[in-house]
């Protein structure tokens, strides 16, 4: 009890030491809590964004003969369900349009029936031309294009089972959400990744019910791709085992009830599904589209959170190092206090207990304040998402665990310097110049060993092609991602220690004071001599600052590259900054209409579904001379070649074709081999076209993942007599209004999408988690840690040198000369720390990018250095150093000269 009282008294009687320890532990705790909160909140972001792109949350597939009214009533009564809409689908073997020029036919067709409010309720199937009319049909762009149908024409659908249905065309509709709504509903077929039909007719419920009655019960849809000589247009086939008639209710859940955490959200969805299915007793099966979407999000998020913590961990370590500075800044007071207690009979053990307990009390106060500050910061930055994720109290155990770890580490760090202070006598410790034996790690060359370890880990994990974050199924895994962090971690440790060794050597040499003397006169010389006399402390603060800057720089580089790759990802999916899609037949000549303000380049583009053997693939027909200027092509897209070489190969040889890696492997073809591919002509009939293999494309705009082929548009048009394009791709000058302007120039028969919209739609991907909040948190803490570190270093130095400063004043030093000395110290420490930090931060950032290349699709070719952000960082650190200098100058000005001279 007495010792505790002494500890409390120490906390009060050594306010500077206490405040410094509190600041160090508070910064560590605040950073940790803020990052953990960011991790929690990012779960909400990922969940929300993932679900935002799902057209419906669930599909209740009615069993044959089910009582639709009863099923609808039960589903509507569930508290989780906001709306349920009837949606019927009938597969047709093919569709035919007979006109004056003859008949055109297309296969792989579906007829969809919805009620009148479907479009306005769900936002799906927007009408782009004409209007819905009872008993008539809106047709998809592909169906209209493939048949040459216009409003007023009548299309005959050949139904499975032999019946027919005639529907008059009342307009054109954009088919959105086709993957889920029109594709297969059973998990096995979904997993196979079958393409949904694109030849679609949308009619009303009464009409579709009449059509359904013409299809015999139990009839299955047929696969047109497997039927010899079958014509096809637009898209690949429906899987064969799908029922020809499907009746379903499409459900929308109350998202406000959804937990933010994707795992908890998936469980909530599963509970809802089980509850409804149980009550329906086999009358309907729930296909949980939302839950299927969330599955990869949970694992993405798990390693993403590991990444967030790894990016923030150096900051936590640095904040804790401040606790050591705190201990050193008040070494004099501690020695005096210890001497006093020792004189009163305190043993070494009791002294240690008192001071460690005092450090613990201060650290605990700091952790509490830091946790509150970190929570407030998180609330400001990611408040709403954090609340949805369960708030900062989501995992009380985790928060408490972090708090205890920070307190223990802060005390341990403080205790290491306390030990030496308590050992020293007051008189000997007072002005001892640091000429100590090098620390153990220096003698053991731990820095060099760690750097060698980093290189070994880098080669073992990065250099051998091991994908650090994706498993065999293409899903991210935590165990591999943790292993991927070994190299940057060792690089960080090794680099830190090596920097410490180098700066210690540099500052201990006379050259530094000589250089400062030449540039700043006597003030510079005094500063240089002082830095040398305190070479170990100087090295520590330089390294602290360097690491803070390095931490911030590496996060900035990572974030900038991350953002660039987000854009590349979106660009890859969309094809370019902007994509204009015709709802009418258009050829390459329409490209000229896109040119104008806001557009820097445009290129025509056609996507044909072709067959390589029996395998359907996308043939991307392009103009290789204009495509590189209108889209973003990376050298990484092409195996064994570059973007410019691949485009040059296409441009120089009309029948050249680039194939996917799988196609090259499956068909054992190499450049120069001829390849016969079945390509549809204008009527949709497949015919053989011979191409010459010119290379392998791993990725390509508009086709980031699927199997695809790339060929010359002019050659495809010449061989098939079909010069129609499916899109115009354009690069914009960044003008937000470019899409609207292009839409105006092209007219109402085109729909225009820009990269901003695509970016938002891709937001459920790993790379779409916004790191902005995390970067802001990390930068703020890096600057704070650097500034507090310099301040503590300066104050500790001034505290140790009170007598020297008083002497300087007594022998005639002016205040400006004292200020200049402090400024010279700050300049030397700040410049060395800043430059070292920028250098090591760049190295760590690059290493992170190389190690985590798998995060990006496609991988970044070169890291992006955000010049403006780095300048802001340098300015912020500079401002922090100036604040530290002003605090030190104020402290020096307030030194009691007479009092210091009288000290014995």
């Amino acid at each position: 009890m007495i010792l505790l009282r002494h500890a409390l008294r120490t906390v009060v009687r050594e306010p500077r030491r206490t405040v410094a320890t509190i600041v160090g532990s508070a910064l560590a705790a605040a950073l940790l809590v803020a990052v953990l909160a960011f991790g929690l909140a990012s779960g909400t972001t990922a969940t929300r964004r993932a679900l935002a792109d799902v057209p419906v949350d669930a599909q209740a597939i009615l069993a044959p003969g089910a009582d639709a009214a009863a099923v609808t009533q039960r589903i509507a009564a569930d508290p989780a369900v906001v709306s349920s809409l009837a949606f019927d689908l009938v597969h047709a073997d093919h569709a035919t349009l007979t006109g004056a020029a003859g008949a055109t036919e297309t296969s792989g067709t579906v007829i969809v029936g919805t009620d009148a409010s479907y479009g306005s309720t769900t936002g799906l199937f927007p009408v782009s031309a004409g209007a819905p009319k009872p008993g008539e049909a809106l047709v998809s762009r592909d169906l209209a294009t493939n048949l040459g149908a216009v409003p007023g024409d009548t299309i005959r659908f050949q139904l499975a089972g032999g019946g027919t249905a005639d529907l008059r065309v009342s307009g054109v509709v954009d088919i959105t959400g086709a993957d889920l709504l029109l594709g297969p509903t059973d998990p096995a077929h979904r997993a196979a990744g079958a393409n949904p039909p694109t030849n679609v007719a949308v009619t009303d419920l009464a009409t579709i019910r009449a059509i359904e009655s013409k299809v015999p019960a139990g009839t299955l849809a047929t696969d047109p791709a497997s039927s010899a000589g079958g014509a096809t247009g637009g898209a690949a086939a429906v899987v064969a085992s799908e029922p020809a008639v499907r009746r379903e209710l499409q459900l929308r859940y109350d998202h406000n009830q959804l937990p933010g955490d994707p795992t908890a959200a998936a469980k909530w969805l599963d509970d809802v599904r089980r509850r409804i299915e149980r009550d329906l007793s086999g009358q309907a099966t729930i296909v949980d589209d939302a839950q299927a979407t969330l599955e990869p999000v949970a694992s993405d998020l798990a390693w993403g959170q590991v990444l967030f913590i790894f990016l923030a961990l150096p900051g936590v370590a640095l904040a804790l190092v401040l606790s050591r500075f705190a201990a050193e800044s008040e070494a004099e007071a501690t020695r005096r206090h210890a001497a006093l207690l020792r004189a009163r009979g305190a043993t070494d053990r009791q002294l240690a207990t008192v001071f460690v307990a005092a450090a613990g009390i201060a650290a605990a106060i700091g952790v509490i304040l830091g946790a509150v500050a970190g929570t407030l910061l998180a609330v400001v930055l990611v408040g709403p998402n954090l609340a949805a994720a369960g708030g900062p109290t989501a995992d009380v155990g985790l928060v408490l665990g972090c708090a205890i770890v920070v307190i223990v580490l802060a005390v341990a760090v403080s205790a290491t310097s306390l030990r030496s202070q308590l050992r020293d006598e007051v008189a000997t410790g007072r002005r001892a110049i640091e000429r100590l034996r090098p620390p153990r790690w220096q003698r053991a060359y731990l820095d060099v060993l760690a750097l060698i370890g980093a290189v070994v880990a880098f080669v073992a994990l990065g250099g051998t092609g091991v994908h650090p974050v994706l498993n065999a199924e293409g899903n991210p895994t935590i165990s591999l991602s943790l292993a991927a962090f070994v190299a940057p971690f060792l690089l960080w440790i090794g680099g830190t220690l090596l920097l410490l060794r180098l700066v210690t050597i540099l500052t201990a040499r006379q050259g530094l004071s000589g250089a400062l003397q030449r540039s700043m006169g006597v003030a510079g010389e005094l500063a240089g001599r002082n830095l040398a006399a305190r070479s170990r402390s100087t090295a520590r603060v330089v390294v602290l600052l360097a690491l803070a800057v390095s931490f911030a720089t590496s996060v900035l580089i990572f974030d900038a590259t991350y953002r660039q790759q987000q854009r590349v990802d979106a660009s890859l999916t969309l094809g370019a900054d902007l994509r204009a899609t015709p709802t009418i037949q258009a050829d390459a000549s329409a490209t000229a209409s896109v040119a104008g303000p806001g557009v820097t380049a445009a290129t025509p583009f056609a996507d044909r579904v072709v067959y390589v053997g029996s395998e359907a693939q996308d043939l991307l027909a392009i103009d290789p001379t204009t495509l590189p200027t209108a889209t973003y092509l990376s050298d990484g897209f092409f195996k064994g070649s570059t973007a410019s070489a691949a485009m040059a190969a296409l441009a120089s040889q009309p029948d050249a074709i680039l194939v996917s890696s799988e196609t090259a492997t499956d068909y054992s073809i190499v450049p120069g081999d001829h390849l016969k591919i079945r390509v549809p002509d204008r009527s949709g009939k497949l015919g053989d076209v011979t191409f010459t293999m010119a290379g392998v494309a791993l990725e390509f705009p508009t086709a980031p993942k699927d199997a695809f082929l790339v060929a010359n548009l002019s050659y495809v048009a010449q061989q098939t007599g079909d010069g129609r394009i499916t899109a115009i791709l354009a690069r914009t000058s960044g003008d937000a209004g470019a899409a609207a302007a292009v839409g105006q120039r092209l007219g109402g028969d085109w729909s225009v999408t820009d990269i901003g919209t695509t970016n938002a739609r891709l937001a459920n991907a790993v790379t779409s988690v916004d790191l902005g909040g995390l970067v802001a948190i990390d930068l703020a803490f890096a600057v704070a840690i650097g500034s507090v570190g310099i301040t503590l270093y300066l104050l500790a130095g001034l505290s140790e040198r009170r007598l020297e400063l008083a002497t300087l004043v007594a022998i005639g030093a002016e205040a400006r000369q004292i200020r200049a000395t402090i400024a010279a110290e700050v300049a030397a420490v700040g410049t060395t720390g800043l430059l070292s930090g920028l250098l090591t931060g760049g190295l760590v950032g690059v290493t992170l990018l190389v190690i985590l290349a798998g995060v990006f699709d496609p991988p970044a070719e070169v890291p992006v250095v955000p010049g403006l952000a780095v300048l802001v960082l340098v300015a912020a650190v500079g401002a922090g150093a100036v604040v530290a200098m002003l605090i030190a100058v104020r402290y020096a000005a307030r030194i009691d000269v007479l009092g210091a001279l009288r000290e014995r």
């Binding site: 006169g521 300087l808 000269v897 001279l901």
Partner: protein, 229 residues
């Protein structure tokens, strides 16, 4: 008006939150003539160091006037007072007041460096002054390589290097053994005499005080008339 140091009614009080206010220097009148060696002797806590700090312009009085070489210190700015100390005043400290990070020579040259003198010239002056106090061989030595006596002689050299007209010495032998104390005080007195500089030395040691031209007693902040001359 050609006295080296004049003070009239000099008073300095220290307030404390816990203790009663203390009057460290209480209405002191003093005149030191050019070239005169004045010793102020008194027990510990009598106010000697405070008086010396007031005379050197290091501390400011609550009342009274201090004139050094004709300059009223109260009328000078802090920078002007610093300039006066650099150019015309030398100070010797009981705790040597040497900067551990500088060599002995650099410590001696420090007042010249602060005055902006040429570095080469100031090093030559420092070397000469060190030689004058018998330490010509320690120019590049580190302070912690010197004995206590040597350190104080370096302190004396630093006080003399600027050719001061007044030297204030605060218990310069307080940390030295008898032999070293005698050497340092003798050296200081001789050097001041050679340079015709006034020397104001405070000490608690009567033997040291006896070496002065004039010795004043100081008790409880008040200066008494000559103890012995």
């Amino acid at each position: 008006m050609n006295e080296a140091v004049v003070c009239v009614g000099l008073t300095r009080r220290f307030a404390s939150r816990r203790l009663e206010p203390v009057t460290a220097v209480d209405g002191v009148d003093l005149i030191v003539r050019p070239g005169e060696f004045v010793a102020i002797q008194g027990p510990s806590g009598s106010g000697k160091t405070t008086l010396l700090a007031l005379l050197a312009g290091i501390d400011q009085p609550d009342a009274g006037v201090v004139r050094v070489l004709g300059h009223d210190l109260a009328r000078l700015s802090p920078a002007e007072r610093a300039h006066l100390r650099r150019s015309s005043v030398g100070v010797v400290f009981q705790l040597f007041g040497l900067l551990a990070s500088l060599s002995a020579g650099d410590n001696v040259a420090l007042p010249l460096d602060l005055a902006g003198r040429d570095r080469v010239e100031s090093r030559e002056r420092a070397q000469d002054t060190l030689a004058a106090v018998g330490l010509g061989h320690v120019m590049t030595a580190r302070i912690d390589e010197l004995s206590a006596g040597e350190r104080q002689r370096v302190g004396v050299a630093r006080a003399l290097v600027g050719e001061p007209q007044v030297v204030f010495a605060d218990e310069p032998a307080g940390r030295l053994d008898e032999d070293n104390a005698e050497q340092v005080i003798g050296l200081l007195a001789r050097a001041c005499r050679e340079r015709e500089a006034s020397l104001v030395l405070v000490t608690h040691d009567p033997d040291t005080a006896r070496l002065a031209d004039r010795c004043l007693g100081m008790i409880d902040g008040r200066v008494s008339e000559a103890v012995h001359a």
